[in-house]
Symmetry: C3
Subunit: 177 residues, 3 copies
Amino acid sequence: MQTIKIGIITSSDRAAANVYEDISGKEIINTMNEYLKSEWDPVYKVVPDEQDVLEKTMIELADQEGCCLIVTTGGTGPALRDVTPEATEAVCQKMMPGFGELMRQVSLKYVPTAILSRQTAGIRNQSLIINLPGKPSAIRQCLDAVFPAVPYCIDLIEGPFLEHNPEVIKVFRPKKK
Amino acid sequence: MQTIKIGIITSSDRAAANVYEDISGKEIINTMNEYLKSEWDPVYKVVPDEQDVLEKTMIELADQEGCCLIVTTGGTGPALRDVTPEATEAVCQKMMPGFGELMRQVSLKYVPTAILSRQTAGIRNQSLIINLPGKPSAIRQCLDAVFPAVPYCIDLIEGPFLEHNPEVIKVFRPKKK
Amino acid sequence: MQTIKIGIITSSDRAAANVYEDISGKEIINTMNEYLKSEWDPVYKVVPDEQDVLEKTMIELADQEGCCLIVTTGGTGPALRDVTPEATEAVCQKMMPGFGELMRQVSLKYVPTAILSRQTAGIRNQSLIINLPGKPSAIRQCLDAVFPAVPYCIDLIEGPFLEHNPEVIKVFRPKKK
């Protein structure tokens, strides 16, 4: 059976320089542990907010590591150093605008500054890449919103079958035609 | 008086190979018959999920056939062979992001996997091109949501005046300034 | 102390040719006067719907005039002469899709043709550029929706501190980490 690998990339100058601990990346790992019944291996990277480093890391996790899902945190705002959406777009063949739209809509229930998040998602070969915000509480809100569609998306790009924990998250797979 | 032509393009490898009947394209024709009081001629094509074939077909329906509206079905998901949005973007001068946003929002009321649809819309010269999902029930939900803005959009790009059936669909045209 | 400059660009062939008075640009200035307690100077331009003229004007207001915020009105529809979003995208380094999504969503409460608006926002260096619709009543609806996030956005791109009037508009700035 295929090992399920999920990539987690924290984009943060300060976390990469050990100025502070990366809580956001750990929040993603914890959330995935709660969501998934399948065995899975995290491939976890903390990188500075540099577009070329982000692109290289995404490509490595998709192409060499074979992660079916790559989740980023940080670097989605309007500031000069926020370049995660640009890196994502550069490495993906297909963009998935529905993810960013839904995540912003959900975050808008909490803060009006949710519209400042430029987070998006896309497909590189057989990997789904999703940008999450940097703030740990917003990470969980966004994942709760979009994860119900993630296992079916990975089915459609011919990745491994993700088995979820229905007591934690509801996941939707349409019946086969 | 100008003949009103509406293009319908089904993007589906299996329908193009006659593996199954194209129900989706027929659903669009039936819906348009219900919506419109104007006489109109369908220009109906079933093509495989190939970006170059899709682009050529859209261009033919817009430029040679003079369709004021071209509606596609299928090919909007994340799978390798889903390339309808890319073909649409390649042939349009202007993109209309509001169509995809609203259609995903409406579909989200039914299924959380609505965010996987990458459907969009755009303008090529005097043609409005709208991507619809492949599933017949989702086609009607999406058309009901966006069609109220379609006749005015076609007015703005100097196409023919579409007369609708107010008992079936409400259409909005702002008063002239 | 830094002078706060806000650019207002009306894109309209008829207003630029003095066929009619530009009410939309004035509506933006009035709204900003109501919103802001900070002293500010408008830099106000009325230009025809020409993409190169729009781009040059945006660049001038951002780079020479140093406007932290540039608000456009008009030119966001599907018609041939509507090119404001294209000009905005051409001069910005970062696009902010959340602004357009929220403005269309708010406008949809009033008119189903809101999906025809292609308005967007983006960042050029230290300037936030926001497209608003052309219609004066829609301008206020859209600004009321997105302005709560504008001062913090300008903080993040290292622009001046905008002080707002809390009796007119609620603005959100997250607490410093």
